[in-house]
Chain length 198, copies 2
DNA sequence: CATACAATCTTTACAGCGTCAAGATAATTA
DNA sequence: TAATTATCTTGACGCTGTAAAGATTGTATG
């Protein structure tokens, strides 16, 4: 049935991830299936089980890759706008744009992910969710510039992350009619809350 | 196979919805299936097709019921705290508490729903998402009290809704470690943004 | 080099899923 | 009472995830 020169595929694990991400980004999670990914890679339906214990393990691998991509998008934004006055607005915009560009990623990362995300600034966590750490780093830096009250810093970072996350959540939902030109207005949205460092 | 006095169930449509909501709230959407609901109602696997065209139509019915329940929770809060100074904080807390009490409801309503939600204040929409309309009504009323700049009202309502929604989104995710005592702090979170009417 | 072993892939099989079609039963209408 | 309609059952189909057994290839060991 399967047309291939060699019996072994040689690079199946990587291609499963690549084609998997492709399927998630184009068709979404709902219609995602192991067998489709296998077919897309030109192998039999059970071949993935040589590299992943089950479907969830492949999904976790996809999520790790997409999270890394997301994290890089945020870091790139800081590289460009990190020193400017409205750096946080740019970062928030990058957050939302990432998921606007790939609407399926949002629900995929945030409703199916098993990756532990710690927003509570606990010291024990060594490897926290990279996008949040990126965000936290910039926010704290900006607060230091304006002598923001120390005891409010933690709450403020969590609140800001929640806010940006909420915008992304709503703006990426097909059935939600968000503000028409949110992209131009996201700075205004953030400035609605007149934080001294915004 | 099926043990029942009468051949006809008499109240299947309603029970499908009741048992369906029960299954969604206990086991979540992932393991939800038409056949399980049918078994829970003591009917054969194809019986639901006499009342719903397909699985999605039953899911939509469940969503409508849960949305109504959510909307009532918000309205009850306004009945109690609508006149108090921190009314909006109470409403925000009610929003989050509703989904904390039923974590499965959040992803069920906001990642699978086909109900159109219009957050952009467009005039054409006659029957908008009731929870948002409830929130909007209170927020506008509070802004009027403090002579909040008219041109910022719309952005502010959208921003606040996004913010509350983001908190609920993060706080209901099992894999996210949100602030330990968010319930006491949600007022602080909201006050991080020192809006004059908060 | 030859043999054994491990990794990778295929085939077959099974239960659960959504859905459709045909038939059975009961309620409603004519 | 007879015909029609609504409701429910049964059986079937293709799709899904997953396990087991077998085929093929790569690798390590003698």
């Amino acid at each position: 049935m399967i047309e291939r020169e060699t019996y072994h595929h040689k690079n199946l694990k990587n291609q499963l991830i690549d084609k998997g991400i492709e399927l998630v980004s184009t068709e979404g999670l709902k219609s995602f299936s192991l067998r489709k990914v296998a077919v897309a890679c030109g192998v039999s339906h059970a071949a993935p089980y040589s590299h992943f214990q089950n479907k969830d393990e492949l999904l976790n691998a996809l999520q790790s890759h997409i999270t890394a991509e997301f994290s890089k998008a945020l870091e790139d934004t800081i590289t460009i706008y990190g020193a400017s006055a409205d750096a946080l607005a740019h970062l928030g915009k990058a957050y939302v744009v990432f998921f606007i560009d790939n609407p399926h990623y949002f629900s995929f990362l945030y409703t199916q992910s098993t990756v532990q995300i710690d927003l509570s600034f606990s010291e024990e966590v060594s490897h926290n969710y990279p996008p949040f750490e990126t965000f936290k780093g910039l926010a704290l830096k900006l607060m230091d510039k304006t002598a923001y009250p120390k005891e409010k810093k933690k709450d403020t970072v969590i609140a800001l992350w929640s806010f940006i996350h909420g915008i992304a959540s709503l703006a990426t939902m097909k059935n939600v009619h968000y503000d028409e030109n949110w992209e131009e207005k996201i700075s205004d949205f953030i400035c609605v809350f007149n934080c001294p460092f915004l």
